[in-house]
Subunit: 234 residues, 2 copies
């Protein structure tokens, strides 16, 4: 939407990348980034889909993507989001298995393609990079495990409150305390793992209880402490 969607040059890419991976030499950076591999992707664009056999992964320079699995009735389950500095799709890039998730643009994004070969080469050359990659994967795994426990044990009400807190952590609040991310009710439901109608009802309960305010897709976080209590977040 806004027009800071100018393409980055290699240096800018490298700078952004270095926020996540601190142990690369400039030679290795040069190996990694080619401006021509960058793409501007509009909301709704699918980057890769479940079952694709990937030839590489993607580095997110700007924008927001959702990573999700598609359940039996075609219902999406959002696994996580990716934003500036994140890498998506390296799982299947490395293991040469078909992708087990799909990825779609939520806010117009600039992503940079990284071929499998390059990725593998970096792992071979740079143990620090490997270690960083392992740690990153482990962190994701830890979050996934927490998520499993939550979905299995918490009520929809608790999970929704928790998801709002996660969104606050991940995307932050504007000056007026509104979440810096705009999701449809359906997308919220697909994070929480519930029906769209349930999200709507619960959001309006939260509003009546003075925890949040709602204006369309803008959600204003009013009472963080109570929300955390409802969500069982400590």
């Amino acid at each position: 939407m806004n027009q800071n969607q100018t393409f980055p040059n290699c240096d800018q890419l490298a700078e952004c990348f270095a926020k996540t991976f601190k142990h690369l030499s400039s030679d290795q950076m040069n190996l990694l980034f080619w401006e021509e591999e960058c793409e501007l992707l509009k909301r709704g664009k699918v980057i890769y889909a479940e079952g694709d056999s990937a030839r590489g992964c993607y580095f997110v320079y700007s924008g927001v993507l959702k990573v999700f699995k598609t359940g039996l009735e075609g219902k999406e389950q959002i696994i996580r989001f990716a934003k500036s500095g994140d890498i998506i799709g390296f799982r299947s890039a490395l293991s040469q298995e078909p992708a087990c998730t799909s990825s779609k643009v939520i806010e117009d994004a600039i992503v940079c393609f990284i071929p499998s070969d390059t990725l593998t080469k970096l792992i071979q050359q740079n143990p620090d990079f490997s270690l960083e990659l392992i740690k990153m994967t482990c962190k994701e795994l830890g979050q996934a495990n927490s998520y499993i426990t939550d979905i299995a044990q918490k009520s929809v009400r608790e999970r929704l409150a928790e998801v709002l807190m996660q969104l606050m952590e991940t995307f932050g609040l504007a000056q007026d305390n509104t979440l810096q991310i705009s999701l449809t009710r359906e997308e919220l439901a697909n994070m929480v793992g519930t029906a769209t109608e349930s999200v709507i009802r619960l959001l309006s309960e939260f509003k009546n209880d003075g925890l949040i305010e709602i204006k369309g897709r803008k959600i204003k976080i009013v009472d963080v402490r109570s929300l955390k209590r409802v969500g069982g977040v400590y």
Copy 2:
């Protein structure tokens, strides 16, 4: 229980380890294993608990462990099992964060402790090992993601059928088609993410439908095809 619980020597350990990690030199193997680091652990023994700061990880030579998180009311959520050839606890060993899961013996086990330093050293020295470790973690992550989607979207009935199929995959069937793993009803419930009573009722439904037979904790898989259909497994 049975008396093949004799301690392995270094060679046997190495052989078992090589099933999982194929790219280690014998020097590196020697670095890895010291017989004195082996332990025989009885059912019920806790290997590490959520919140522990680990000084290393554990290689499972024999037996079965469960890896789980503890939810709000103290209810366990079983994340996965570990058996011969698996490694547990390397997440916190590498990231130096407190463990985010606990681990407990289900069938008497022999495990071998691997200090963090050794693990890190191997990653530094051997890129193939790194790659293998990354792939392993990624695979686990893929399974976790599937699990999230399942719990969020499937009914308890579907999930129980699916769990039975997973147990069949992981632990196999005896000659008489009984699952080669003995779990309490509560442990089954803690995998599925439901109440113990629900598991009991559904198991007995499955029995009435001719899908399984039950004798105490022995579960005999009678109709694989129908079970897969019920579980939405293809």
